[in-house]
Amino acid sequence: MGGETDALIEAEGLSVVLGDQKVLDVPSFRIAANEVLTVIGPNGSGKTTLLLCLASLLKPAAGRITYKGMPVSGPGVFQMRRRSAVVFQEPLLLNSSVWDNVTLGLRLRKIRGEEAKARGLKWLERFGIAHLAKRQARLLSSGEGKRVSLARAFVIEPEVLFLDEPFNALDSPTRQALLEDFESVLRETRVTTLMVTHDRNEALILADRVAVVINGSISQMGTPQEVFSSPVDEEVAGFVQAGNILHGAVRSQSNGLVSISVERGEIQAVSDLPAGSWVTVYLHYEDVTISMPPAETGASSARNQLRGTIVKVFPLGSQLKVTMDCGFNLVSVITRRSWDELGLEVGREVRATFKASSVHLIPRRS
């Protein structure tokens, strides 16, 4: 048994029916211990339904869920809830103090006294809300409320963490700050996590694996790189709005402009990252334009003007996905009309152009 799998949670033949419509149909699904799995997909695709089933908050019409090989049903449902924590899109706080809310899970588990106090304090501080402990929870700002809701989940020291679009509905700076704190807590605790999101960046930053849910079933599952750079079908591609995902290192930086070496090539980007930083480079296909060399027309103000060779063409409806070798594989999406006008073909030498400001950099640990 033990050698067969290290899956923490496994689901088989999971289906949820609403009225006479099947809203979820997942033949098999597994979450490995200590992994961060993000579930992405369009609104109403069944992401949240999947999360609720796995968290034992929704009884599926059919299917079997196991935790460490033990079936989650009957009394197992309550046990499953006791070892997991769920953070919803809304903070959903009780009408009492921040402290009361954060330590609620402990009181429900009859953990009191010094231990409760120590754990409560630890997580209040970890999420930077210790100074709010005595405040009325429902009067907090949405960002603060979200921090309370996260601290309340972590204080339980759950074996599994479920999050349903936890960073939604926050303004951009608040969201960014919270995301950074959350990321470091996640890396530190290594708690097994399933997070529903529709934000590509969140998935890229946090996930070990990504599952794409469309129309109630899982269309693709893999590493973020796999899913975002090679979507299995048009639906997935359409949802992830696929772009180039490249790995590189900052070679030099001056005046907010960095030069990044990627495989045998080089990219200029707007950033303050110091030389030596490891980065993931994200570049929308649509931001890369293709023209014919010679490059010395001087018409473009774009920083990046790379020479390359077309190695692959793939049709995407009225558009074409063109892969070029510019020292690294770079993909652009152009219309069939431009393709024809430029007289392009596989093997043809071209010039790929994109702005330094179009390049999105995500710092990496290594």
Partner: protein, 232 residues
């Protein structure tokens, strides 16, 4: 004008000397109405929570009955209780008619729909996702119910105030089932009615002042609790 001044002077004399009869009437009033409120609270909060949280056939009909009951005329309640407690009535063998217990029963019936209705409404207006969140945090069924009731404590305290206020100042039912017997079932409201009938305005005004002060004090205590728990 003379009558009013004379009445007020008389009232204060009765109050200052703590007239034994006045004290007895006051204590009985308070005891009966607080007792009835307490019983209604226990039954009303349980009933309101069950109706608010569960789905069963006839639930909507029951809810509409309760909402109607919130406006039931005390006189009609008194009539119904009298019919039941009357010597030949279904509950006649208990000999409760014209005892303080009869008043407690009538007042319970008056305040129960108010407390049940308030509880039902405040439990129902809780975000259903909060229930899911509490369950997700590992709450048992009883822990969930307790947390939801606790979360609605502000409207519930309002229910207590409304319930108590409606029965301490009620006169029809107390008169009918209690009989306004001196030293036994005479409460503030029935005593006021009697005193006015006999032209003893001093006594009536004194009792009136006591009634107002009592309602105010009880409400003050509850309001303080309510506002403090809000600030916490």
């Amino acid at each position: 004008m003379d009558l009013i001044i004379q009445g007020i002077v008389n009232a204060f004399r009765l109050l200052i000397h703590a007239d034994p009869e006045v004290v007895e009437i006051t204590l009985l009033s308070l005891g009966v109405s607080l007792g009835a409120t307490a019983i209604s609270l226990i039954i009303g909060i349980s009933l309101g929570t069950v109706i608010g949280l569960t789905r069963f056939p006839g639930r909507r009909f029951l809810a509409s009955l309760i909402n109607t009951g919130m406006g039931a005329p005390p006189v009609v309640v008194g009539l119904i209780v009298s019919v039941f407690l009357w010597r030949n009535g279904p509950l006649g063998l208990f000999s409760l008619m014209y005892t303080p217990y009869a008043i407690v029963i009538a007042q319970c019936i008056i305040s129960l729909p108010i407390i049940t209705g308030f509880t039902m409404a405040s439990i129902q207006q809780i975000d259903p996702r909060l229930r899911l969140q509490i369950l997700a945090l590992g709450a048992s069924r009883w822990q969930l119910v307790w947390l939801l009731i606790r979360d609605t404590r502000l409207p519930l305290l309002a229910a207590v105030m409304a319930g108590f206020g409606s029965i301490i100042s009620e006169v029809g039912a107390a008169m009918m089932v209690g009989g306004n017997i001196a030293g036994e079932t005479r409460v503030l409201t029935t005593a006021i009615v009697l005193s006015v009938g006999k032209g003893q305005f001093g006594v009536a005004i004194a009792l009136g002042i006591i009634l107002m002060v009592l309602v105010y004090l009880v409400t003050l205590v509850l309001t303080t609790v309510q506002q403090r728990s809000k600030a916490r």
